[in-house]
Symmetry: C2
Subunit: 133 residues, 2 copies
């Protein structure tokens, strides 16, 4: 991992793939990852970990299946939200967005259980940034 600061805009400019997170830094056993997103992700659940979202640009929706039923939270630019462990969720961004994620290293982008993964969604534990991103 870099021991120099990384500008998120520069990190985001180093790749084009959607729904395909890049690890920007490690914090103990956690990753900070950035992703470009547009359209719909897939319903999935992380059984053993919460998942943190910060919207860097654009607007993100996160559909949630909770005890009381289904609801969708909307995150404008600059908003944060933590999806609790064990909660099925599906992020989406009709107009596109850039996001920062925080979750344990090794966490899969499609969780421990998920619907069929569409071709436009990358099932990954996060890719490395290019060397000089």
């Amino acid at each position: 991992m870099s021991n120099e600061p990384i500008t998120l805009a520069q990190a985001l400019s180093s790749f084009d793939a959607l729904w395909s997170p890049r690890v920007v830094t490690r914090v103990d056993d956690y990753d900070a990852r950035v992703a470009k997103v547009k359209g719909e992700h897939v319903w999935h659940v992380h059984e053993d970990t919460d998942e943190f979202f910060l919207v860097l640009d654009g607007e993100l929706h996160i559909a949630l299946r909770e005890d009381g039923g289904e609801r969708t939270v909307t995150l404008p630019t600059g908003a944060v939200f933590t999806v609790p462990r064990g909660t099925e969720h599906k992020p989406s961004a009709p107009e596109g967005a850039a996001i920062l994620l925080f979750e344990p290293t090794g966490t899969s982008s499609v969780g421990d259980r998920h619907d069929e993964v569409p071709a436009h969604v990358d099932a990954t534990t996060g890719h490395a940034l290019p060397e000089r991103a």
Copy 2:
């Protein structure tokens, strides 16, 4: 903790204190905290945890005491940096900045060892946001 998204700008507008982090959300055993900073913090070290910084507004400097000597990294708005555990460091922001921190719940803002804490630095494990921030 809120189960609704929180806008960081709104969270930041809910308090004025400098070097006095507010917990905006929990992620497993970690806190995401926001702080307003200006001037100099204090040399300190977290022996057992890394510490993540994201600059939301302004410019942050972090002086580091490493094996090779002392250096200062500069984080413009939108930059991230992780201070490794065991590294003495001193954040500063001559012109002021707003930052997002990520570190284990219970982590002290002045670390496990530190120089004398000046009056303008709050020694805290993070304050709660007002109810409707």
